[in-house]
């Protein structure tokens, strides 16, 4: 067996995160709370789709000469996707979308900085680009957490509710999957557990400004990184894969 298998799985984990979140953000297109935010959210979605493409292209290159970015993105089965459960959570109301983004970006702030120094040159280059995008996405998400948390009674309530609802899906961010540990040992890729203190510090400062409470529950849902997903995943794929499944092998 080639030594590439863990690497492929690792790259797919990052790629699937980017694609599924980009897909979710794309659902907002045309339905945002205000025109300016429609444009802002599409920008974020485009960053994610762009990142997914770079990662799938890289993975396809390692997999086999016939493999393509679209095959990896559209033709795998549900249990072969390696994205976090967090990113497949439905958009819900605007507060849920903001909370989902915030939890992930707060994690990625340090993660991509660390990945930039990995021994895998392609990943390091993708990380370098992602650092800048993440800085902006984090700013967007944290400002909205604060606005909604601090704004009105209704928005405060909705923001807290979203944070509470998504909380059980944050634990998985810090669990190291086998491919991650292999990549850490072989290429000096980051240990997700090491991101926790930076993540918590960001949460504390933003939630304090927003007047929100950090949930205390510590029973966490996990499984996405190893291919065990929530019920939502099937619907995401049914929609996302529709064309490639209905008309296999065609150019678009």
């Amino acid at each position: 067996m080639s030594i590439g298998i863990e690497r492929v799985e690792y790259v797919l984990h990052l790629a699937d995160n980017a694609l599924i979140l980009g897909q979710r953000l794309g659902e907002w297109c045309g339905h945002g709370p205000v025109l300016e935010q429609d444009i802002a959210m599409t920008n974020i979605a485009l960053d994610y789709i762009g990142r997914a493409r770079m990662l799938y292209q890289y993975a396809a290159g390692i997999c086999s000469p016939e493999s393509t970015e679209d095959q990896l993105a559209f033709m795998r089965n549900e249990w072969e996707y390696r994205n976090l459960l967090l990113v497949e959570r439905p958009n819900g109301d605007f507060a849920h979308t903001v909370a989902r983004q915030f939890f992930l970006e707060a994690f990625q702030m340090d993660y991509f900085k660390a990945l930039q120094h990995s021994g895998d040159a392609t990943l390091s280059a993708i990380a370098e680009k992602s650092i800048k995008e993440t800085a902006y996405h984090f700013k967007w998400a944290s400002e909205w957490v604060i606005r909604l948390g601090d704004g009105t009674e209704i928005s405060h309530h909705r923001m807290q509710e979203a944070v509470d609802a998504l909380w059980p899906f944050t634990g998985e961010l810090f669990c190291e999957a086998p491919c991650e540990s292999w990549m850490r040992k072989s290429f000096d890729c980051p240990d997700p557990a090491a991101m926790r203190s930076g993540w918590s510090a960001r949460l504390q400062s933003v939630f304090a400004a927003a007047g929100l409470e950090i949930p205390t529950g510590n029973w966490m849902q996990e499984g996405g990184k190893t291919g065990r997903h929530t019920e939502h995943m099937g619907y995401i794929l049914a929609e996302m894969q529709y064309m490639q499944r209905a008309y296999p092998g065609m150019e678009w």
Binding site: V34, L35, I39, T42, R53, F94, M243
Partner: protein
Amino acid sequence: MDTENMQKAMPTLSFEERIEKDEKIEARDWMPEEYRRTLIRQISQHAHSEIVGMLPEGNWVTRAPSLKRKAILLAKIQDEAGHGLYLYAACETLGVSRDDLLRELHSGKAKYSSIFNYPALTWADMGAIGWLVDGAAIMNQIPLCRTSYGPYVRAMVRICKEESFHQRQGYEIMLTLSRGTEVQRNMAQDALNRWWWPSLMMFGPGDSDSVHSLQNLRWKIKRFSNDELRQRFVDMTVPQADLLGLKIPDPRLCWNPERNHYDFGPIDWDEFWNVVKGNGPCNRERLSDRVAAYENGAWVRDAAIAHAQKQRSKQVPAAS
């Protein structure tokens, strides 16, 4: 300023003279009330069309068949949001707020381009919309870059510049389909069949039936008549369809060497007016989607304002 001074300071050229000289009218310049009303109606209709137009394409973002197409489609729809925004802003220089305009859209009082009341059924519709609908829109819009109202001109210049990729990406989708498998060619032909006539209707009623045409031409709000632009669109599009190997669904379509134009069959204006009146296949969905987005976003907009007010009151030092 008192009235006597106003009299003295009246611009040397009258409004009509300025229009005649191709001078641009700016937001704070004097203008006839009817000119202002016409502009508000036309620009806001255009703005509404942009944001309603996001919906049929938005339906396909999550189903786009490749990552590249997904990114392009998202970027295109995002541009449409931007264009709606530029146009609402141009309208706001005339003294109406975006929220007023949205309320008119949501109540069904304001119109938008009827083309978006047709459904986007297959992926080929993303091609046909880009090629035909954006093509027709560009044909309408390019002359508007020379319209008489300054803020409208500037919005249109920006829009036309950004839209240049929209039609091309649509045509490229059609090209890929027409060079693909049989099922893809059928998909492309079916999309052309459904979008052709509504695209011709986008130029509005024939010149003899258009109520606003003449005065709008005189004020240089419009620069060409509906029928002129429609003919130009047909002349341009027929060879493009030939290149795709697709058949335009009009048995009367043929080249007329005497006129140096294509002749084409009669447009079903009954259908047009029915769709305008709200009886199109998707009028209700489109409007209710827009209303839902607006209403579901109200608490978000309120929260942002409330937060901004709290921040401001924190910054202001206590009054001495």
